[in-house]
């Protein structure tokens, strides 16, 4: 079942929530507001409804593998995960496996993680090695993919040295991330990344290191998980403890060619509330201060909670980010969450989050949600954190050592996820429905997904 636009709405034409707009909030800044925050997309995403079997069926999953995962530029790893020659990491996507490595000249390369003899995966784990030796019979390739050695070479008279080089996988580098593409005839990476680089000019992601990296297994389609992190519409239902200090429904949503963005203001009250919270209550709500305890931080009389959060974040960042005094309160207090099709979600400004969602093994109803914390640093780049895995039945709050109370927020999100999958599999109606404005990013994703399916 294909998706088709139901309604076309011109930019700025659709109805919006009561309360301040994001651009109103920027007008109150005392520092110069960067152009990137002033940008608004020139058009809106058409309203579409999405067939439910796109989240549940093996057939659709298989189609996604053929039409998307084998064709699209995708984030495989961080450059600092493989700092030295010979360092390699295994990137699995659905039933595909790619070996990303740094060769002897320091160049990053990718190969299919498959032995050309009888097909064993060449590497089971991340590690370092001077060549790629299959553990089964010992066929060995150089890091650049050229065939190095076949034990009993005399026994393979039909094997040509050059024909048996490992087929290369295309690689592109951006912001310290390694992207790969399995399609030898794919579009240039520059077309795919588009103007995203301009958005991150002020917040260079290449000058960060992986402070923490957690991968959580979830019992749902990867799109179900991903779509829970692409809008602020769920905050009222799922995160009631933070409503006093988040302008959830005042979020600005934009979609450009291959990527979309949401900007959710913090330390401004939710328009859902019937009583206006005080500045102190906004800070308390963000820190989830217990009602029977005093505040963790007092908001000074001459300051708003928004200014205070900005100031506190500036103090935290000043040792690592020289330009911190020029950053607006918005850049220090708010949540800017980008999505580059299909599954890469870097957050803007100095919020450290990067999300990635992908199918787990070859299943339509299980997925991996990963959260990376990319932190600024001073001096020598600290080593990248190793991935910590959290199993299906363990809670996200196992990542409190890595992410603090953010792990508890993820736990609230993950609480819904298996129930969404259960409902979708039980559903007797045919489509899921999305909000015109607040679910812009999701509809934009599905519009792009459809484009890949039709290609």
């Amino acid at each position: 079942m294909a998706i088709e636009p139901l309604i076309e709405i011109e930019a700025g034409q659709g109805p919006r929530s009561s309360g301040v707009t994001y651009q109103d909030l920027l007008d109150a800044e005392t520092r110069e507001v960067p152009e990137v925050l002033r940008m608004q997309a020139a058009r809106e995403t058409p309203v579409v409804r999405v067939p439910i079997d796109r989240y549940t069926s093996q057939e659709f999953h298989d189609l996604e593998v053929e039409k998307v995962w084998k064709k699209v530029w995708q984030f495989a790893c961080r450059e600092e995960q493989i700092p030295e020659p010979g360092d390699h990491t295994v990137y699995d996507i659905a039933n595909l496996s790619i070996l990303v490595l740094r060769d002897e000249s320091g160049e990053i390369r990718a190969h299919h993680n498959v032995c050309l003899h009888r097909g064993r995966a060449l590497k089971d784990f991340d590690g370092n090695s001077s060549d790629l030796r299959c553990p089964f019979h010992g066929w060995t390739w150089n890091l650049d993919g050229s065939l190095k050695e076949i034990p009993c070479r005399w026994d393979f008279p039909d094997v040509d040295q050059d024909d048996y080089a490992l087929p290369p996988v295309k690689v592109a580098l951006w912001g310290g991330f390694v992207f790969i593409n399995l399609d030898p005839d794919c579009e240039p990476f520059e077309n795919h990344i588009g103007d995203l680089g301009k958005h991150f000019e002020r917040w260079p992601l290449e000058k960060r290191y992986t402070e923490a990296h957690v991968a959580k297994l979830l019992r749902c389609n990867w799109k179900v998980a991903q779509e829970a992190f692409m809008e602020a519409y769920h905050v009222v239902g799922t995160h009631p403890q933070i409503l006093a200090g988040i302008g959830d429904a005042n979020t600005q949503y934009d979609a450009w060619d291959t990527f979309s963005r949401a900007m959710t203001p913090n330390m401004t009250p939710s328009p859902h509330l019937t009583e206006e919270p005080t500045e102190q209550e906004m800070i308390n709500s963000m820190l989830s201060v217990s009602l029977d305890e005093g505040p963790m931080f007092n908001v000074p009389e001459d300051m708003t909670a928004r200014q205070m959060l900005g100031q506190m974040t500036r103090m935290q960042l000043q040792a690592q980010v020289p330009s911190v005094q020029e950053l607006t309160d918005a850049e220090l207090a708010d949540s800017f969450y980008y999505t580059l099709f299909p599954n890469f979600h870097p957050w803007g400004a100095y919020n450290k989050i990067v999300y990635r969602f992908r199918p787990y093994k070859n299943k339509p109803n299980e997925c991996i949600m990963e959260v990376l914390f990319l932190s600024p640093f001073r001096g020598r780049r600290p080593p990248a954190a190793k991935v910590k895995w959290i199993d299906f039945d363990a809670p996200w709050s196992d990542a409190i050592p890595e992410f603090g109370s953010l792990a508890k927020v993820f736990s609230q999100d993950a609480y819904n996820i298996p129930h969404v999958q259960k409902g979708l599999e039980a559903a007797q109606h045919t489509h899921v429905t999305f909000a015109n404005y607040q679910e812009t990013k999701i509809r934009h994703f599905h519009t792009l997904l459809e484009k890949y399916l039709q290609a």
Binding site: P240, S288, L291, G379, A385, S397
Partner: protein, 349 residues
Amino acid sequence: MKLRHAMTGAIYTNRPDGRVDVELDGKTGVFETTGEYVSGELRQADPHMLDWMRDSQPVPNRRTGNMGVGAAEAAGPAGVALPQLGTSTRTEGRKGHMDLGLNGRKVLVTAATRGIGLSIAQHFADEGCDVALCARGEGGIETATKDLEARGAKVFARAVDVADGGAFKQFVADAADALGGLDIFVSNASGGAGPGEKAWQASFDVDMMGAVRGVDAALPSLEASDAGSVIFISSTAALEYLGVPQAYNAMKAALIAHAGDMSQALAPKGVRVNVISPGPVYFEGGNWEMIKQAMPAMYEGALAQCAIGRMGAPEEIARAVVFLASPAASLITGANLVCDGGFTKRMPF
């Protein structure tokens, strides 16, 4: 933990049995954190709030004691790359769990609002201890208190000059009263380095007498504890010539001798006494940062002496203190543990 649902106005309160009380419009109900109704008139609750309450269990359930370096600390305070703990790639399921036995202990640390002292207090707090601390400045006291409270510790803090013997002993006694005892005393305050007779007096009053009076005032509580323990913070300046004769060096050496004496004297009373001797420790606002700017040649010289190629970080000292002070180190008394990354070159007999 007690929180209000912003939309419905319902109040959620953690119960000691791990369930949650929910109250709305005069009706109450009890729920499992997984969402199931248990009892009461109120039969509906928000599962997301319950999930949040599960993850916000009050002290001490949440404070499991785990001296692994949190990822947030791994970069070091000045962006110094430190080895990361807890990142071993060994087989899943084989994590170390050496319980230090510190949960619920009461600790007093002098001069604990910055640098090594603050890091020591933070590490004890993270291990589930309540903390008493003092420092000369009022300002640092407030931020350190908030920091430690945010880690779940009960905190007793006062601005006291350790050199003021009467006030200091009073503080130690009051701290024991406020926390309901003392298990561990860490003498960290120092009069600092400097020339002249004033420096000799300051070193004697703070480094030496701070330790002597602190133990004296804390002893009734330490004896009453089943794991009484004392740590003196000395220095590698006591062990090897640093280039200038100073009161600081001599007084740090005296501390080692006094710790040895006290370890013998207090062993029958069940109190252990040990010394930690840090080498150069670099942190923002610390002496070595100042020396780096003011006397780069001296800084470079000291750095060159560090066999591991860098200076220490406060948390590297703090972890040693926390272990040595803990019941996990029950056999160790009268020891001087040198933490210097190979800065000193003597043979460690």
